[in-house]
Amino acid sequence: MIVSFKLNGEETTARVTGPLSLLDMLRDEVGLPGSKSACEQGECGSCSIVLDGELVCSCLVLAGDVEGSEVTTVEGVAGADVLHPVQEAMHEAGAVQCGFCTPGFVVAAVDLFESNPSPTTSEIKEALAGNICRCTGYGAIIRAFEQLAGRGT
């Protein structure tokens, strides 16, 4: 089947055969590999995207179910040559190591800061509890977003 949807603000169509996750469609059919596959079951957040205004794991969305929907991926949070403030904060704080979890954190944090521009540390943590990072121990990620929320030291 052909799926038509709005991807990062642009009308997009993709060919889908069989039951396929949105994540696989984005990576393999559409050619946007920024969303990462790390657990295939919604336990790591590496594939986080925004679907019709809701932050979700794209590995748990059936590709065909986005017909007519709006999808934002990590590739769509900022223009080609600029960083979103969330990305800038992570870069400055040293919150990126291997980087495999990074796109998921970026999308989840953009979603957080859009609804709550100055979250408390506790709110930051609870909002990002679905994103696993294996490298940083989260310290730099927390500092990045405390800084962005205006709570940093």
């Binding site: 590999p33 990462k36 079951q41 990590v74 870069h91 040293g94 190591q97 509890a129 990620i141």
Partner: protein
């Protein structure tokens, strides 16, 4: 011999001591950084693997017919199709590329397929019909030891074996099987070159050793296989061994097409080695005044079905079985057994983690018995420069600031603020199991010691090349960036060696540079960093000599305050320098385990503060403070990242991370049940870096990757003991161990 660093830091923006922004940060943040999972080639096929559903079985027959009959399948290969050496292995090639007569662990590869898309490849892999005669798996380490089914036995005897202390404490300890669980699973792409050779782009910590093993099993000439560094989503030891590398190259050469393979998470849990589970018996002797008199230990680690690095992990466990303490009478017996459990190998800390949990529990037990504060007992016995290693007897010549680590850790404010009001930070979190009144707080300390770089006479070297180009200096290397920040630190070293502010790291394949060794053993900053520094300083000197200059900076060569050659002209001249760096030699131990076995050491200490709900056995690690011996901090922010990340993995091992094995089968090969700490589980961390000149690393730097993981687990266990009075003789500590005992 005392190695003193004399290399001058030439001023340059972005040099050592700074924490410049990571050069790969922007692409990683924008999702454009290319990982092995993201590789693509025209006409590419997808590979998949048929794996054994049994931990032990005889293969009666393999019928590839049903798989080949599926439309879109291009190849189904078995052991018969391996043209060269039938086995591989990091230290001993004992592991079949594809099992032929027998399978020895759950998930062992039996066949590989290539098909036009991934679902078809997986379907075909499942369609390969393998008839097994199921055999009883040997999963009992004691039984394996009795039958002498072992990878290595270690025996260390040092000093008077008859001496006894006035106070003796015994203990038995266990460590469960931890997984590295890097977020990126194993992945790669092999592209045939059209002339019988192949280019491999795959997840790795050590491309040259991958290349050698591919060459052997494919029966090719070394120049026909090129292994390329590629983007890696974490490693932590899981990527030292070959897994899909030979399979990909076999499929690519057989089909004549590029072949890509990406392991799913469940497959990743069987597709790489794990941290060895360990059982340890200890007896510590001390005098009433606290002087450590004698340590006796027996260490048994389960290597699983194949050798991997079990021999080296066992040796490390034995060498570091006493910890960073002086002791002149030591007896250690170790064995690495072979079973039908999942193969185990390298993981951050490499044997030192397991014994640290045990020796630190023993030191606390001794402190209690003697009525001495745990830190005071450690300080009294602190191992330091000029002492002999308690196990090998090696004279410690590089700086070992154990006392400074203890003193600084003790001086850090404890910030004992009581259980938090924030429910997300209590044991059980938003599960609402626990209120502040249910919580007992505990504090625990631990120290850990580990070698840096390869040991026991292994020829440990790294090559690096520094070139001047129009882009600035380029450091060429095959050293793998796994996320730790090598791309920053090598560039910083080059800048400070050259005196130029523009430098980047460029990864090159195995045909274009000699080995950098593995990105493991906390070694790349020291070894590849050493090569980079030597290349940069030599190149600077050669350029100055050639132009009679007295300074080189971003403008060019200067003499007496006058610019004599511009930087553009230098870049056009194609200046380059290639250096192979070796650390001080090490030697295999004698039959008593004695000798100059290690090149360098690092020590770290951790203080954990935990909140425990004793009735439910739930633990929240509130904070972990640390002091770490780093030699010279070349990039403080990267070091902090290593410390916080390493502590988190240590906390994971202490309270939640374990592969549960039953009869050789992994019961939790997924992220629902193999629990990794989340951001809500992260403790606050305060870190002090102890800097001291004298190590042979560039500018005196030491490796920093492993020490954070070694004693953090032990510190958390000690804190849980402090809070609950439970013995905590096993990690991970499970709720039932605390609540029921």
């Amino acid at each position: 011999m005392t190695t003193k660093t004399t290399t001058r830091i030439t001023p340059a923006k972005g040099g050592v001591g700074e924490s410049p922004l990571r050069p790969d940060g922007v692409p990683k943040l924008k999702g454009t950084f290319e990982y092995a999972q993201d590789l693509h080639a025209d006409q590419m096929l997808w590979g998949a693997t048929t794996r054994s559903p049994h931990p032990h079985a005889r293969i009666v027959s393999i019928d590839v017919g049903p798989a080949l009959a599926i439309g879109g399948v291009h190849a189904v290969l078995t052991a018969d199709d391996v043209p060269g050496r039938a086995t591989f292995g990091l230290e001993h090639p004992d592991q079949p590329v594809l099992a032929s007569d027998e399978v020895r662990y759950w998930g062992e590869p039996v066949a590989i397929v290539a098909a036009e898309d991934e679902p078809t490849a997986r379907l075909a892999a499942a369609a390969v019909r393998v008839e097994y005669e199921v055999l009883e798996p040997n999963v009992d380490g004691d039984e394996a030891e009795r039958r002498d089914d072992t990878f290595r036995r270690m025996r260390i005897r040092r000093g008077d074996q008859e001496v006894q202390g006035e106070v003796v404490v015994d203990g038995y300890y266990e460590v469960g099987m931890q997984d590295q669980a890097p977020l990126g699973t194993e992945a790669g792409l092999a592209i045939p070159d059209g002339n019988g050779g192949v280019d491999l782009y795959a997840t790795s910590q050590f491309v040259h050793v991958d290349q050698e093993q591919v060459v052997a099993s494919l029966g090719l000439r070394p120049d026909q296989v090129r292994a390329h560094p590629t983007g890696i989503g974490g490693a932590f030891g899981a990527r030292e061994d070959v897994n899909l590398h030979i399979h990909l190259c076999l499929l690519a050469l057989y089909t004549g097409k590029p072949v890509k393979m990406v392991y799913q998470r469940s497959e990743s849990f069987t597709g790489h080695v794990h941290r060895h589970p360990a059982r340890m018996w200890y007896r510590h002797h001390a005098n009433r005044d606290g002087t450590l008199i004698r340590v006796e230990a027996r260490v048994v680690i389960d290597g699983g079905a194949y050798a991997s690095t079990t021999a080296a992990v066992l040796a490390n466990a034995c060498y570091f079985s006493v910890g960073p303490y002086r002791c002149d009478s030591v007896s250690v017996d170790g064995v690495g057994v072979r079973t039908n459990n999942p193969p185990c190998g390298a993981m951050r800390g490499f044997g030192a983690v397991q014994v640290c949990f045990a020796h630190e529990a023993q030191m606390d037990k001794l402190a209690t018995e003697l009525g001495i504060h745990p830190l005071e007992l450690r300080r009294m016995n602190a191992l330091t420069t000029g002492d002999h290693m308690p196990t090998t007897g090696q004279l410690i010549e590089t700086p070992l600031p154990t006392r400074e680590v203890i003193d600084s850790l003790e001086a850090m404010p404890i910030m004992d603020d009581g259980p938090p009001d924030d429910v997300t930070q209590l044991p059980g979190g938003t599960g609402l199991t626990t209120e502040p009144g249910d919580v007992k707080r505990g504090v625990g300390y631990a120290l850990g010691l580990k070698n840096l770089g390869f040991s026991e006479g292994f020829d440990d070297f790294a090559q690096a090349r520094v070139r001047l180009t129009e882009e600035g200096a380029i450091v060429e290397t095959a050293a793998i960036e796994v996320g730790q920040g090598l791309v920053s630190v090598l560039a910083q070293i080059a800048r400070s060696g050259l005196g130029l502010s523009r430098a980047v790291v460029k990864h090159v394949d195995t045909s274009r540079i000699e080995s950098a060794g593995s990105t493991s053993a906390s070694r790349q900053t020291q070894v590849s960093g050493g090569a980079t520094l030597e290349a940069a300083t030599k190149l600077r000197q050669r350029i100055l000599d050639a132009h009679g200059g007295d300074d080189l900076n971003d403008s060019g060569v200067w003499r007496g305050g006058e610019l004599v050659v511009g930087i553009e002209e230098l870049a056009e001249a194609g200046w380059e320098e290639t250096v192979t760096f070796r650390h001080p030699p090490t030697y295999a131990p004698d039959e008593d385990g004695q000798g100059v076995v290690h090149a360098d050491f690092a020590v770290a200490g951790h203080r954990a503060v935990v909140d425990v709900d004793p009735d439910l056995g739930l633990v929240k690690v509130h904070r972990v403070d640390t002091s770490q011996d780093v030699g010279r901090a070349l990039n403080p922010e990267s070091i902090r990242g290593q410390i916080e990340g390493g502590i988190m993995q240590g906390v994971g091992l202490a309270i939640m991370e374990e592969l549960v094995i039953e009869g050789g089968v992994i019961k939790n090969p997924n992220f629902t049940d193999y629990l990794l700490p989340t951001i809500l589980d992260a403790p606050d961390v305060e870190a002090l870096l102890i800097e001291e000149d004298g190590s042979w690393g560039p500018f005196g730097a030491k490796g920093v990757g492993e020490p954070p993981t070694i004693s953090s687990t032990a510190a958390v266990a000690a804190a849980i003991r402090d809070a609950t009075g439970r013995p905590v003789t096993r990690v991970p500590v499970r709720p039932q161990d605390i609540a029921i005992g």
